[in-house]
Amino acid sequence: MASVFEYAPAPESRSIVDIAPSYGLFIDGEFVEAADGKVFKTVSPSTEEVLAEIAQAGEADVDRAVKAARKAFVKWSALPGSERAKYLFRIARIIQERSRELAVLETLDNGKPIKETRDADLPLVAAHFFYYAGWADKLEHAGFGASPAPLGVAGQVIPWNFPLLMLAWKIAPALATGNTVVLKPAETTPLSALFFADICRQAGLPKGVVNILPGYGDSGAALVAHPDVNKVAFTGSTAVGKEIARTVAGTHKKVTLELGGKGANIVFDDAPIDQAVEGIVNGIFFNQGQVCCAGSRLLVQESIQDELLESLKRRLSTLRLGDPLDKNTDIGAINSEEQLTRITSLVEQGEAEGAERWSPACELPESGYWFAPTLFTNVTQAHRIARDEIFGPVLSVLTFRTPDEAVAKANNSAYGLSAGIWTEKGSRILAVANKLRAGVIWSNTFNKFDPTSPFGGYKESGFGREGGRHGLEAYLAPSSPEGER
């Protein structure tokens, strides 16, 4: 839809961030080349411009990094919690100082709008370090026993949708509890993790406490399988999560998995329509829908379907897709060509299965990876687009008549990560929230995050929680059978 007023371009300057032509692995406080000399390129998804060449970690590098982390663990874990806390507070502060630089960098490497990196990712990243910094000297009060102990070396594998935020979710609680870390960022978004290495350097963090190993899935698999890793933390697809669960079977490794989702966003007939529409848009088009807890299934009460869809379509027509560095951009680029292919194929399947596809008039840039916001109606529970995680800006609309039906449909999924409830009736919120099998439930809001709040899934959305007091548990040794804790 052509708007009455055209927006003037409002690009954020990229000159604030210096990207080197090449980066090494960050092991034991130094940037080093991969043992076998392998490298890969990271591109900007909105332009396909090559941003940098990155060393690709192999098995030998994983081994080197784990050894460095093991060595560093001795001193790091013995440090008084109050000292570890200060390192984490320093990191939080440096992130705040450098947040504009990091926001631009993240937008370049990931393709998400600057509006989101600047206003959502970076403030949350700093907040996570600040939050867990405060726990480091209070662990004996956290409810996990009088003298909770760290596990050792944490092997952490994170995805490309929130590269720096996922790093924060993993590294902050690990360091606060006295563990050391080997982290593998995703192959399409390694840059912010490598910049984080520089932040560790500025903060004076002891060598080896944090090690960063960019690479592909095989690097992650080697890290997870390394016999001297005590704790595995993974965020990513359910398929890989299952593979990891098999890999660690029969070992003593503690595991947490944050996997996929197919969140139901339930709108009752008494919901405030305009607010609900904003929530639906936020639920599925935030970060181009590349969010594990996205509200990708809209369950709308039949009696308000027409009214809601009309409002929703009107709202979608005002979304601005394009240059992620433009401050007015709502929808950025899809993270990679591979992901774009996956979204496209699932959407084609949705059409082939008889669902009705709709997108607002939307011009896609010529280079880069783009997908227009897409809505499917006439979707049934049997449709693949209602069951499989698409991980893109694609919303499937289903209807229901009674609250029981809404609950049954919402729970009819192998996943159980998130859900939304829109109604003015408080008792209905609590009743429905009680019955939903999902780890995070947003009522009259969606996609809200906070470091104090446990986040994680039921069923095939994974195990364990990140955030809050609960997030500490994943990095602490299990209690003795004598019940000392």
């Binding site: 907040a127 409810g143 359910t238 999560g241 299952k242 593979e243 669960a245 098999r246 079977a249 029969g250 003593h252 998995l257 996997l259 192998a414 919120i429 929230a433 999902a438 780890g439 995070v440 439930i441 947003w442 009522s443 009259n444 809001t445 809200k448 906070d450 104090t452 709040s453 446990p454 986040f455 994680g456 039921y458 069923k459 095939e460 994974g462 195990f463 929680r465 809050g468 007091r469 609960h470 299990p478 209690s479 003795s480 059978p481 004598e482 019940g483 000392e484 804790r485």
Partner: protein
């Protein structure tokens, strides 16, 4: 033996005792194994005690169906109500204390006093967990002070249907120690009894059936642990598995199978003394945390004036 009994024997023909037919406990009923198979159970000295059902994969699947059916009601019951029922189990056990002392003594080759100590500890354990049902949510849940106009609450919820492989050695106290925490928190359970000493577990079914515990909340199977556990670990409608009764090799196999639907797995933990205080880990292992967000709105920058 007392002199009275001696006299009875000399005066009357010896009374033939009534054997008990040990059966499974599934869905609140006492079926035989669908397979029609049984196996011999002996005491620690090798004397025959009973023929008990040798459960099949089908029995395991039936038990999952029963446990799933019971889950809504049990997890939806008030925590207070669940506590009452767990306490009632202790009451019923107390009344049959002598029977369990005999069964545990036979099963584990213990002296009567040592067996009695095990049974007493098991009864006390039900009482302990009865008190936990309405407290665990306060201990592991909470309100979260988010930075924004929202409030959210984290509360624990049961994971769902839990397969429990009871410890092999401790036929009764071990069994109760792994079963009670699972149902105290609102899960429903399929428990696989100790392979060599299943009689106390099968008898427990009789107590559970008379303790106001809804049918299907606990289902007791006897047989070969590996044979029953394999389909349970692979079952898509089982949410979690406690591997206490599996040896290292079997535990690894089952953990791999459990990955297919990302079951929550509690790996075998070394336990020197089942009578020691258990802590809350066995409860939290089968709990999920649900975080519910809601906007708070605002009364304006100054708030209300008092």
């Amino acid at each position: 033996m007392s002199t009275v009994e001696k006299n009875d024997k000399t005066e009357r023909a010896e009374r033939l005792s009534v054997f008990k037919t040990y059966k499974l406990y599934v869905g609140g009923k006492f079926p035989r194994s669908e397979s029609g198979r049984v196996y011999e159970v002996t005491d620690s000295k090798g004397n025959w005690l009973a023929n008990v059902p040798l459960s099949s994969r089908k029995d395991a699947r039936d038990a999952v169906v029963a446990a799933r059916k019971a889950f809504g009601g049990w997890s939806g019951a008030t925590a207070y109500n669940r506590g009452q029922i767990l306490y009632r189990i202790a009451e019923m056990l107390e009344g049959r204390r002598e029977q369990y002392v005999r069964e545990v003594a036979d099963a584990e080759g213990l002296s009567k006093s040592k067996a009695a100590a095990q049974v007493d500890a098991a009864i006390d354990r039900w009482v302990w967990y009865a008190g936990w049902t309405d407290k665990i949510a306060q201990v592991v849940g909470g309100g979260n002070p988010v930075a924004g106009p929202f409030f959210n609450i984290s509360s624990p919820e049961p994971a769902g249907v839990v397969a429990v492989l009871a410890p092999q050695e401790s036929s009764f106290l071990g069994l109760v120690s792994v079963l009670a925490p699972v149902i105290a928190t609102g899960n429903t359970a399929i428990v696989v009894a100790s392979e060599t000493s299943p009689l106390p577990a099968l008898s427990l079914g009789e107590v559970l059936a008379t303790s106001d515990l809804p049918g299907g909340v606990v289902n007791v199977l006897s047989g070969r642990t590996a044979e029953i556990a394999t389909p349970l670990a692979a079952h898509q409608d089982v949410n979690a598995i406690d591997l206490a009764g599996a040896d290292e090799v079997l535990a690894k196999e089952l953990e791999i199978a459990a990955a297919d639907n990302l079951k929550r797995v509690l790996r075998p933990q070394p336990v020197d003394d089942w009578a020691a205080a258990p802590g809350i880990d066995r409860m939290t292992a089968f709990l999920e945390t649900k975080t519910v967000w809601h906007p708070t709105g605002s009364l304006g920058a100054s708030g209300s004036s008092y």
